[in-house]
C-alpha cells in the first residue's frame, strides 16, 4: 500500500511536470506568449563583423577569425573602404557610399542610426531610420520555392524558447556585410539567433554560410541598446547628396548634373 502511494505520487508529479513543461519555457514564460522584441534600438557603431576586430583596425586576412577563401580575400584586398587601416574615402569602392546603394543586411543594422522592431503574430519587421528601409521576417513558414535576389534577402523565422531563429537567403551579392567590406555571394545562407537578454539589450548572433566566400561557416554578433528618447527621423541619402558633398568637400566635378535647388 505504501509503495502504491509512493508510485502514485511520483506519477502525479511526472504528469504535473509534463504539463508545466508544455506551458512554460526555460525563462518561465508561457509558450503561448513569445518574447517582446519591440522597441527602438541603437547599436555600437562597429566597422567589422569580425568578433576579434569590431572596429576594423586589422588588415583583411589578419583578423584570425574569418575563414576567407582565395576569392573573398582577393576581393577584400581589391576594395577601398572608407574605414580601417587602408581607408580612402575619396576613392572608395564602397557601394553604399559611392553609389548610395542600399546597405542591405546585416549592414543596415551596423549603420550608426536607430531601428525599430514592430512585432505582429505573423511577421516581425525591422524599420531602419537610415534611408527609411525595412525588412520582413515572416514567421512559421518556409522560404519561397524560388526566392528573389534582393538587397535585404528573404527571411523566415520561428521562436525557439526565448530566441527568435531567422533563416535568410537570396541576398544581392553587390552589398557588403559590414563597412570594412566583407563580401558575400548570392549563395549566402544566414542564420540569426535573436534574443532580448535583458530589458535594455538585444543581441543578434549570426552564422554566415557561403562556401564560395568562406571556407566554413563563421559567426558574428551585434548588440543593441533600447532607446526610449526621441522619435525616428528621416535620413535619406541619395546619389545627388553624394555628388554635392564631393563637389563641395573634395572639389570633384560631378559625373552627372546635381539637382538644382528649387
Amino acid at each position: 500500500m505504501r509503495n502504491r502511494l509512493r508510485w502514485s505520487a511520483v506519477w502525479l508529479l511526472g504528469i504535473l511536470g509534463f504539463i508545466s513543461g508544455c506551458s512554460a519555457n526555460k525563462g518561465g514564460k508561457p509558450t503561448s506568449q513569445v518574447p517582446d522584441l519591440s522597441g527602438i534600438w541603437l547599436g555600437k557603431g562597429i566597422q567589422s563583423l569580425s568578433p576579434s576586430d569590431p572596429m576594423g583596425h586589422k588588415r583583411p586576412g589578419t583578423e584570425g577569425d574569418i575563414p576567407y577563401t582565395p576569392w573573398s580575400i582577393a576581393r577584400m584586398k581589391a576594395q577601398r573602404p572608407a574605414t580601417g587601416p587602408d581607408q580612402d574615402f575619396a576613392k572608395t569602392t564602397d557601394p553604399a557610399l559611392r553609389y548610395a546603394d542600399p546597405d542591405g543586411y546585416p549592414r543596415a543594422s551596423i549603420h550608426p542610426m536607430r531601428f525599430k522592431i514592430v512585432q505582429t503574430p505573423d511577421s516581425i519587421y525591422q524599420l531602419w531610420e537610415y534611408n527609411k528601409s525595412w525588412r520582413q521576417i515572416a514567421l512559421n513558414r518556409p522560404h519561397s520555392e524560388v526566392p528573389d535576389i534582393s538587397w535585404f534577402g528573404e527571411s523566415v523565422g520561428k521562436w525557439e524558447g526565448d530566441t527568435l531563429v531567422v533563416d535568410s537567403i537570396g541576398f544581392k551579392d553587390s552589398t557588403w556585410l559590414d563597412p570594412i567590406g566583407h563580401p558575400h555571394t548570392e549563395d549566402l545562407h544566414m542564420i540569426e539567433r535573436i534574443r532580448r537578454v535583458d530589458p535594455e539589450t538585444l543581441v543578434f548572433n549570426f552564422t554566415f554560410d557561403d562556401p564560395k566566400a568562406y571556407a566554413k561557416p563563421w559567426n558574428g554578433e551585434l548588440t543593441f541598446k533600447l532607446k526610449t528618447d526621441g522619435i525616428m527621423t528621416e535620413t535619406i541619402y541619395t546619389i545627388s547628396d553624394e555628388l554635392s558633398f564631393r563637389q563641395r568637400f573634395l572639389n570633384e566635378k560631378p559625373t552627372i548634373p546635381i539637382r538644382p535647388s528649387p
Binding site: 557603431g45 574605414t83 581607408q87 574615402f89 550608426p112 527621423t233 547628396d241 558633398f245 568637400f249
Partner: protein, 121 residues
C-alpha cells in the same frame, strides 16, 4: 589648458569614428583649428550637416570655409536642429583641417556669441 586638451581627447575617444563621410582619410584628426568666424550658410542636409563661414586669416584677408558636421539625426541627439545657426552669427569654431588642403574641415565644436557651446553629435 592641459585639462582642456585632456577633456577634448576623452570626448573624441568617446565618439565613435564612423565610416562614412568625415573620416581620417579626409581630415587630419591630430590637428585642430580654432577660428573666430561669421556664419554664411547652414545646411541641415544629408549626408552631413554643413556650416559655411568666413574668417580672417593672419593678414586680415577673409577666407571662406565649409565645415562638415555629422548627420542630422546624430546632431539632433546633441540638441541641434535645422535652425541652430543663422547666417550672420558670430561664432568661435574648432575643427580638424583637411588632409588634402583647401578650406574645408571636420567640425568638433563651436561657441556662440552668448557663450553657448555646441558639440559634434
Amino acid at each position: 589648458m592641459k585639462a582642456k586638451v585632456l577633456a577634448l581627447g576623452v570626448l573624441l575617444m568617446a565618439v565613435p569614428l564612423f565610416a562614412h563621410h568625415g573620416g581620417a582619410s579626409l581630415y587630419d584628426m591630430s590637428k585642430e583649428v580654432t577660428l573666430d568666424a561669421t556664419v554664411t550658410e547652414y545646411q541641415w542636409t544629408n549626408p552631413h550637416v554643413e556650416i559655411g563661414l568666413d574668417a580672417k586669416d593672419n593678414k586680415g584677408k577673409v577666407r571662406h570655409w565649409i565645415i562638415e558636421a555629422n548627420s542630422p539625426p546624430v546632431m539632433a541627439n546633441k540638441g541641434w536642429n535645422r535652425k541652430s545657426l543663422q547666417p550672420g552669427e558670430v561664432i568661435k569654431i574648432t575643427f580638424n583641417p583637411s588632409q588634402r588642403g583647401g578650406s574645408v574641415g571636420r567640425f568638433i565644436k563651436l561657441v556662440k556669441a552668448d557663450g553657448k557651446e555646441m558639440l559634434r553629435g
